[in-house]
């Protein structure tokens, strides 16, 4: 069972998502509504398969999949793909899907390489609070990465429009307005998720551990990250920068967030735990 859950299924998922990527790359080059409908349906099926795998991992270890770096990366991949599938359901976006797909495949591959099997069960990682905190944090990160993807899409289309480049890229991306709305929505939701997750961790520390810090080193990184996201969200709310600059900031900050989260997760698992 271990072999199936921790090795064969993730390998199968890599294959499935690679197939899906091949379909979307073909669609990015040339429009085909029939193939697009098939690809959207295949995307839902791939999401279901991913969710089943994550559920099996959870059942196997009696804990949501947050026990290893590999599991966290895989879980993040699921959340990104869930976001993407939802967005795909709302707007037609022949090209934008490629970016999240590549991210999901890379996360899955990284998860397999780093290792998904939990050799030990860290005590602090088990229990419902931990599951809630980490799941919400990851969902928030997935939303923020989504915001970055839409920002990147908006920047590409902006360039196409201002440079009068009316090639296939121009027609394959969703409208600028839609991408900015989705970017803004993903940023707000991501901010709320990170905020609630962070607040809950503080409350937990105060109540459950009588104020004793659990992951102090990890927490200050997360708090710094929260500050950065908050400034960006406030700027979005007040529209300080305008849509184009805001999109650019979303891309830069999403990349930063990804790096910081990765760094903090790696630090946490490779001995940086306080």
């Amino acid at each position: 069972m271990n072999l199936i859950v921790y090795l064969l299924l993730p390998a199968l998922l890599v294959l499935v998502y690679s197939g899906l990527l091949a379909m979307w790359l073909q669609l990015a080059g040339r429009p085909d509504q029939q193939l697009e409908r098939r690809a959207v349906r295949a995307g839902w099926a791939a999401l279901a398969l991913y969710a089943i795998w994550m559920a099996l991992v959870s059942l196997q270890q009696r804990q949501v999949p947050v026990l290893t770096v590999g599991q966290l990366l895989a879980f993040l991949g699921l959340l990104i793909w869930a976001d993407q599938t939802y967005v795909q359901h709302r707007i037609r976006q022949r090209l934008l899907v490629v970016l999240p797909l590549i991210t999901v495949i890379l996360l899955l591959l990284a998860a397999v390489v780093v290792g998904i099997h939990p050799n030990t069960h860290p005590k602090a990682m088990s229990g419902p609070w931990s599951a809630f905190h980490i799941t919400l944090s990851l969902a928030g990160v997935a939303m923020l990465l989504g915001s970055g993807v839409f920002g990147a899409g908006a920047m590409i289309l902006h360039r196409q429009i201002t440079h009068r480049a009316f090639g296939p890229l121009f027609g394959a991306l969703p409208p600028l307005g839609d991408m900015n709305r989705l970017r803004s929505f993903a940023l707000y939701v991501g901010w709320w998720m990170i905020t609630i997750s962070l607040a809950s961790s503080i409350v937990y520390m105060i109540i459950a551990n009588a104020g004793a810090p659990i992951f102090f080193a990890h927490l200050h990184v997360m708090f710094g990250l929260w500050l950065v996201i908050s400034v960006l969200t406030l700027s979005e709310k007040r529209n300080w920068l305008g849509q184009y600059r805001q999109a650019r900031m979303s891309v830069v900050l999403s990349a930063l967030i990804l790096l910081m989260v990765m760094a903090s997760v790696v630090q946490m698992f490779l001995g940086g735990r306080a």
């Binding site: 040339r30 429009p31 085909d32 509504q33 029939q34 193939l35 289309l157 429009i161 201002t162 009068r164 009316f166 090639g167 296939p168 121009f170 027609g171 969703p174 409208p175 600028l176 307005g177 839609d178 709305r181 529209n239 300080w240 920068l241 305008g242 849509q243 184009y244 600059r245």
Partner: protein
């Protein structure tokens, strides 16, 4: 195959002659009756649009070119000289042509969508007039399916191919749906009216119209449910609008870069200028910036050309799909030719089997009779399958109907009158 087509389109006649040749829908019934008076014609479908007039005929025997030209000239009011111009096609060529027409590959603007609706309409009208036969039914249904398939499987109909549409297309690329967008129209002439019509179709409901003649501005504003703005264009109106469309006859700049700079100094939302005037209304010094997009007529022409190039590329794929569909139709047609022979064969063999079983039934016990029934059915099925397989091989692969004729003759019974009809049809095909 017995199909004929005679027609004219935008490539051979001017709009004036096409207009004269077009068949008035009110007179269509008379035209069809006149065509069907000819006993050789079994079915007809008339496709008459602003770009083409075509008669699709299913005759018993092919008519001569002169007969077709005379019929077409009569129906379309063409002069003797003009009557030599229309194209004539026969059989598989007709199938290929109609499928290309329905797919938008033969249209003035490659990938035009409206033609598919017109083909559907022509077929439905023909059905109402009861002037089609099985071949025309199948041909038109296949053409309609092919038209849909080509549009869903390729990008042949994507992108705007007129300046006004391209302008609205661009607005939709920038804003998405135009439902909540504020539109400032500068000018009230034909171009602005056309552009505002397309923008309204895209959902815009909030309008201001600024024009040198306030009466004309009022008329347009009333038609759109908007309000009149002052002339010359005020900074306040520029700051209000998300989309500014300008098309005046003014020889000078109507919207200066300076006024835009002042008006949009505190604006953070995107704003799009669509300058459809020649010479330009919007100051050329005003360039696209972070959230400001400025487009003029030349840009839209470029956009239209790019879209046409994209469509041309897609046309190659579309043509392959059409060829596949034509092949499917030809296969169906060839199968259809031998269907009466197969039916005849099955009837005769079944009659022989039933008679023999009944005549010999008294020799067997009830259980054995059941076995005999099963055995005789299985045997006849195998014999029939073998003959049908050979028939199809000859008819479909080699297009040879002599085997079908021989089988019909071999299994003909004296008391069957239908055989004569089957043989007649086969002879027609063979003579062709």
């Amino acid at each position: 195959m017995k199909l004929e087509l005679i027609g004219l389109n935008h490539t051979i006649f001017s709009a004036e002659i096409r207009g004269r040749a077009a068949i008035n829908p009110d007179h269509l019934s008379d035209v069809v009756n006149r065509i069907l008076e000819n006993e050789n014609v079994e079915g007809v479908v008339v496709l008459s649009t602003c770009n083409r007039v075509e008669l699709y005929l299913s005759p018993k025997l092919h008519s001569s070119e002169a007969e077709l030209r005379s019929l077409f000239a009569d129906v379309c009011h063409l002069t003797r000289e003009e009557s030599f111009e229309p194209y004539i096609m026969r059989d598989a060529e007709v199938t290929q042509h109609l499928l290309r027409v329905a797919s938008g590959l033969d249209s003035q603007f490659l990938g035009e969508v409206q033609i598919l609706t017109q083909v559907k309409q022509a077929y439905h009208t023909a059905l109402q007039l009861a002037c089609t036969n099985s071949i025309l039914n199948r041909l038109f249904l296949q053409a309609i399916e092919c038209g849909k398939l080509v549009r869903t499987r390729t990008g042949i109909s994507q992108g705007a191919v007129s300046v006004a549409y391209a302008a609205v297309d661009l607005a939709e690329r920038v804003f998405g749906k135009l439902t909540d967008r504020k539109v400032l129209l500068v000018g009230a002439g034909e171009t602005i009216q056309l552009a505002s019509k397309y923008i309204a179709e895209s959902g815009a409901t909030s309008w201001r119209v600024s024009n040198r003649t306030p009466e004309r501005a009022q008329l347009l504003a009333d038609a759109l449910g908007g309000e009149v703005a002052a002339w010359p264009v005020r900074e306040e109106d520029l700051a209000w609008a998300d989309l500014i469309v300008s098309a005046t006859n003014s020889p000078d700049v109507v919207i200066s870069a300076e006024s835009v700079k002042h008006a949009l100094a505190h604006r953070r939302e995107p704003v799009l200028f669509l300058d459809l005037a020649v010479p330009r209304d919007v100051d050329p010094a005003l360039q696209s910036a972070d959230d400001i997009y400025v487009y003029c007529v030349d840009d839209f022409r470029e956009m239209v050309e790019a879209n046409l190039k994209l469509r041309e590329r897609e046309a190659v794929r579309a043509a392959k799909l059409v060829d596949r569909e034509v092949e499917e139709f030809v296969t169906w047609y060839r199968e259809n030719r031998i269907a009466p022979t197969i039916q005849q064969l099955q009837l005769v063999l079944e009659a022989i089997r039933t008679t023999e079983v009944e005549n010999n039934a008294h020799r067997f016990t009830p259980e054995d009779r059941e076995q005999m029934e099963k055995f005789s059915r299985a045997m006849m099925k195998k014999v029939t399958s073998l003959i049908v397989a050979n028939l199809k091989r000859a008819s479909l692969d080699k297009n040879d109907l002599s085997v079908a004729r021989a089988v019909t003759m071999a299994f003909a019974r004296e008391d069957q009158t239908s055989v004569k009809e089957v043989l007649e049809k086969l002879d027609h095909e063979l003579s062709h």
